[in-house]
Amino acid sequence: MAEAPLISLRGVTKTYGTGATAFQALRGIDLDIAPGMFAAVMGPSGSGKSTLMNILGCLDVPTSGRFLFRGHAVERLNRDQRALMRRKYLGFVFQGFNLLSRTTALENVELPLLYRGDDRALRREAAMNALDQVGLKDWWDHTPAELSGGQQQRVAIARAIVTSPDVLLADEPTGNLDSERSVEIMKLLTDLNRAHGITVLMVTHEPDMAAFAQTVIHVSDGVIGRIEHNHHGAAEPVR
């Protein structure tokens, strides 16, 4: 990899609790994520993949080790600094969609822009663009209850990309969807990765979905097991 990594982890550990009840979720992770990468993190439950994603998503801090984001050390940021990191550079997609209920798709998508302090016209335009990218422009005034699961996840993706983040973190994005919808969502993520150069980091336990990624990172017992590279260029999964 000639390019400087976007994200770089060195010897990252995470321990929950202290003393006898302490549980070490991560036992020293070294990982580089290049810009424009589409990586899937796989592993059984309890392997530490969620902890890893929380640290990468600046939702949590490592107990020890280095975390460089664009060359800046971010492992000791405080709560508000991490919130600003998430606001500026990161987008999140969750398994449970996590849209605000009784809130239109448009208002859901413009929420991150509200916190960024953009004015109304700018918000509307950016949010409509994002909805257009996920193919839901005509559904902007529908609330989550009026949308299918696949559509809800698309709205969530629109919300994640509306701020033009460096990294899109997706935690089991297809976990609540049937296989057809899952493939649609994966295609959308692949498309965003390819066309817009957004780095995508995705946690999944489904090999079918991981197959969409260029890189599959296997985590077990708090360490990285092996890293696979798919040479299909993340176009079509090998079935």
Binding site: N54, G57, L59, D60, R79, D80, A83, L84, R86, R87, K88, L90, F92, F94, N98, L99, L100, S101, R102, T103, E107, L111, P112, L114, Y115, R116, G117, R159
Partner: protein
């Protein structure tokens, strides 16, 4: 940031109209109760004060006997006489005027119509010690007073019952066996604070009443006007000394007359109604506090219910301070809306209840502002705890919350 937070808070309130309404119901009722109670209380005080003002402010009523009425057994205390009137006016400092009164029941007759009323013999000083404007005509002249002329001034009840709509002034009528000229008519005063129609009266020169009706020089009561710059207490004690001397009371004897200070009654009654207003307002204020606790309860439930929402907001980059502000502003906006609805409700309640209580309608700016201020403060106080709880949530745990 405040604009953003305000927008978020308003959106959240708009999306949960029923929940928001139930949240503020306590505030609405509390504010309405406090404002309505205090306003009605103040209106009652004002009504009592205006009734007492009708008796004349800064006047002392002097009657024979001890306390109210003439007393039970024992010899009848002596009445006053006209010499007392002069003596008081000249010898007691701070006295502006003294009006003697001698009432007597009599029948007034005009044009075949009869009306049983009370005639009161007095002097022109009567009009100086208390405000009671005439609607037509004039008061007694000194010549009429000293000569004991048969002239009379009619109260509005007597006037309307005998003369209907025709002018009374200038007419000749009969009172008992005495034929007299109507020289004036009095404006309407209404019921006295102690019941009884104050307008059912006929005023005549006291000399005329003494000569033609009672046949004695007695004066049964005195109304003493006190100069504004003197305290009624001061004048009352000087007056007591003078009357004791004039009525030859030894130091061991009790007063055989009593002095009634309308200012004292006014102060007492005003004090009583003000106290009652405060007690009722305090009870209503408790309901306002209960309303505030209601806001806190629902906000706390709301924080739990909205844990996932808070997690989403934190995950996409909301600062803890922004979440805190959003919940706080929500609580403040809610309680202010509740306060405003409560104020409206209170005005409606006052408009309905005031006529039933026979007190004047009023709008008291002060209590409305205080109540609104308190409702906003309740939002801050009872909204802070739930808001802080929301802001301190860990985004990872909050997102996992079902």
């Amino acid at each position: 940031m405040l604009g953003t937070v305000l927008l978020l808070a308003l959106r959240s309130i708009r999306r949960h109209v029923l929940r928001s309404f139930l949240t503020v119901l306590g505030i609405v009722i509390g504010v309405a109760a406090v404002v309505a109670m205090v306003t009605l209380g103040k209106a009652t005080t004002a009504a009592v004060q205006s009734q007492i003002a009708a008796l004349g402010t800064n006047v002392l009523q002097v009657r024979p006997g001890q306390g109210f009425g003439r007393g039970g057994g024992g010899p009848r205390p002596p009445e006053f006489e006209m010499a007392d009137v002069e003596a008081i006016r000249q010898q007691v400092t701070g006295v502006t005027n003294v009006a003697p009164q001698e009432p007597r029941a009599a029948t007034a007759i005009f044009n075949g119509a009869n009306w049983s009323t009370t005639i009161t013999g007095t002097t022109s000083a009567y009009f100086a010690v208390q405000p009671w404007p005439l609607t037509a005509g004039r008061i007694f002249t000194p010549a009429e007073e000293s000569a004991g002329k048969a002239v009379c001034i009619l109260g509005s009840t007597v006037e309307s019952n005998l003369f209907r709509s025709q002018p009374a002034v200038g007419q000749r009528m009969r009172i008992g066996d005495v034929s007299c000229d109507v020289i004036g008519t009095l404006s309407r005063r209404g019921q006295s604070g102690f019941g009884g129609d104050q307008d059912d009266t006929v005023l005549m020169p006291i000399k005329t009443v003494q000569r033609r009706f009672t046949g004695s020089p007695d004066v049964s009561s005195l109304t003493v006007g006190v100069d504004q710059s003197y305290s009624t207490e001061q004048v009352q004690s000087a007056l007591t000394d003078l009357l004791r001397e004039r009525r030859h009371l030894s130091p061991s004897q009790d007063n055989n007359f009593n002095i009634f200070d309308t200012k004292q009654i006014s102060d007492t009654l005003t004090g009583t109604t003000t106290l009652l207003t405060r007690i009722v307002a305090a009870v209503a204020a408790i309901s306002l506090i209960v309303g505030g606790i209601g806001i806190m309860n629902i906000m706390l439930v709301s924080v739990t219910e909205r844990t996932r929402e808070i997690g989403i907001r934190l995950a996409i980059g909301a600062l803890a301070g922004e979440v805190l502000m959003q919940f706080l502003v929500e609580a403040i906006v809610l309680s202010c809306i509740g306060g405003l609805i409560g104020l409206l409700l209170a005005q409606v309640a006052v408009a309905i209840i005031a006529p039933l209580m026979q007190v004047p309608w009023m709008f008291d700016v002060e209590i409305n502002m205080i109540a609104f201020g308190i409702s906003a403060m309740i939002g801050v106080i009872f909204g802070y705890f739930p808001a802080r709880r929301a802001a301190s949530l860990n985004p990872i745990d909050a997102l996992r919350h079902e």
